[in-house]
Symmetry: none
Subunit: 192 residues, 4 copies
DNA sequence: GATGAATGAGCCTTCATTCAT
DNA sequence: GATGAATGAAGGCTCATTCAT
């Protein structure tokens, strides 16, 4: 694949992500996406066979990108608590940083995928979630969590994902502070 | 308004809520909804002027119903902690009990509303959220929360709403236990 | 089904048959058909779910109509030769009379049907062909055919169907004369 | 024109003939044809300016090829009856032998040509049909046909062309036998 | 209130054809 | 001659909404 082809693909995926986040998958037309990158409607066909393929493509890309990011955060930490904090921070960054559009879409438009695709995405998230579970169990082993790890992760992913609905990185609270607040929720006795 | 008219309206709203949750607002057709209550497609428009009105109608109803429920939970509690627990429990019940369909729709299809309607819904939630804030501040006054109340509420609403994606009331954890786990997140020192 | 609904269906089927014959199934658009009966493009949907359904519908109708006609011709004849002549005549009438459009379409656009539909049509033709075979075997029993009945029928159906490509009922040869010529082909010794 | 250029042209024509027969002209895409000979879609247009040109090209080729074949059959025969038999045999071979794909397409997709092209094809067939007419009139001169030659030819071409729909050369009847059966139809008194 | 045929705008997708490389 | 991305006009179909009955 030559690089300008990859570029066009990335360009489309990014434009689509933004539109899907702003208007929703259903209300975004193929023409909207084409126009956003300066193509005619039919030309999308060379890059993605269907509109759903675009949705799927951006979900896969963002999961893979952020799994790698999470893995890095996991590897670089030197204590159980700092590891969990790093994961929280990484996830918040995914949601509010460069991959924000795609992450939002992943959360809100996941149901638009057809059955099979839905499972594929779920499977891709497994490695991602496995990292989280290991990190939380490290904290649990130190007796610092008050909730069982699996449940804790589910509650945390909710709290973190939901920030998309209210948190503005440009506001008074920076991302590091927010990450610490979330960590506080996870810890049994935060001040200890 | 005679009562059988109200019934028909309720019937439509419930059928729509179920369909919107299962298939999403965009993929649910007016015909789907009509068929679900034994009407022909055109007849639905004697009850709701537009498809969006149905979405809006069920959101308003479910917010009002649950605000009343929340108010009751608030009033009946006799301590700050038991009050927060009661609110958590009430919100979880809204999400997993009889109003489950409408609540899920409220969370996931909120963006489908047009601008003005979106604000209306937001305003309706104000009273609801005010109750929450008072309850959390009661707990904060006792020095038992580790996170500032507004942020805490936002994180909790995320954690609670997200349960729609993973929690099954028929599974091994009952709703009371789940509510306690959520409370644990909110408390600074759960064992105290 | 009220009668004006049936009428609209018939109207559509006839308009479609004419267009399919003139332009071919593939080159006829749903909009062409709608316009021909004074409808907007989307309104076809109330009568036929897909364009193929129209094709299938008219084929089924024309087969059933002509099977009944063939049966009548079969029943009314009083000798083996006159029976075969009557069938030839009936088939020519189907091709050049009122059902001409649909018959032509049946012959030339049969391949446009999807697999399953193709079989359905074939099955419908069975009863029709069974009549033919019985009639030809009546003639064979009298020793008046020179070719085995099954093969004879296949050759005759070709000769008859092909008339669509050259015979004009308004020309110098009338349908009865043409029918006799075809019978001549089938007979071993025409003058006997 | 160098010979490998001619080869590429032939290759395309044959691939197209097969596809047109199998799927129909309308449902065969330019990409299908290109792919079948290992070209990319755009490259096909170095060989044929339009998709219709391909259809026209293969029709012209097959007519010319078979006219030559018919001429040979005509020339080699030594009696009126054997001449007609030879023509039948030659036409059946065209339909069931190597030129089968193109012949089938000639019969079934003739209407897909634009007006002018349709006439051109008709004109090409004139020489072909003239041979047939002379042969049949030879037989008529001997008093052995029961139907006037022009009509007879039209009926025979139908019977023969239609074999494409039912006759399998690999079945129990070989091509010679089939040819004889067809001749039987044409003769007034076959046993004579 | 109910019906359901009709509307008509719009959607996703297809595909013959062009053209810069 | 070959490539393949791009074009752009259609095409089949969907569906919220209207309205005469």
């Amino acid at each position: 694949m030559t690089s300008h082809v990859k570029d066009r693909r990335q360009e489309l995926l990014q434009a689509a992500a933004r539109l899907f986040r702003e208007k929703g998958f259903a209300k975004t037309t193929v023409r909207d996406i084409s126009r956003a990158v300066g193509l005619q409607s039919g030309s999308l066909f060379h890059h993605f066979a269907t509109k759903e393929d675009i949705l799927y493509g951006l979900m896969v890309d963002v999961i893979e990108l952020n799994t790698a990011r999470l893995q890095r955060a996991f590897d670089e930490a030197d204590s159980a608590a700092s590891r969990v904090l790093a994961l929280i921070r990484a996830e918040l960054e995914a949601i509010h940083g460069e991959t924000r559009d795609a992450m939002t879409v992943l959360v809100f438009e996941w149901r638009q995928l057809t059955e099979g695709r839905r499972e594929d995405v779920l499977n891709l998230r497994d490695r991602y979630e496995a990292l989280w579970l290991r990190a939380l169990e490290g904290l649990a082993a130190e007796g610092r969590t008050a909730v069982e790890s699996f449940t804790l992760r589910r509650l945390l992913v909710g709290a973190i994902s939901w920030t998309v609905n209210w948190y503005k990185p440009t506001g008074s609270m920076d991302l590091d502070t927010l990450a610490e607040q979330v960590l506080t929720l996870a810890l049994k006795n935060p001040e200890a």
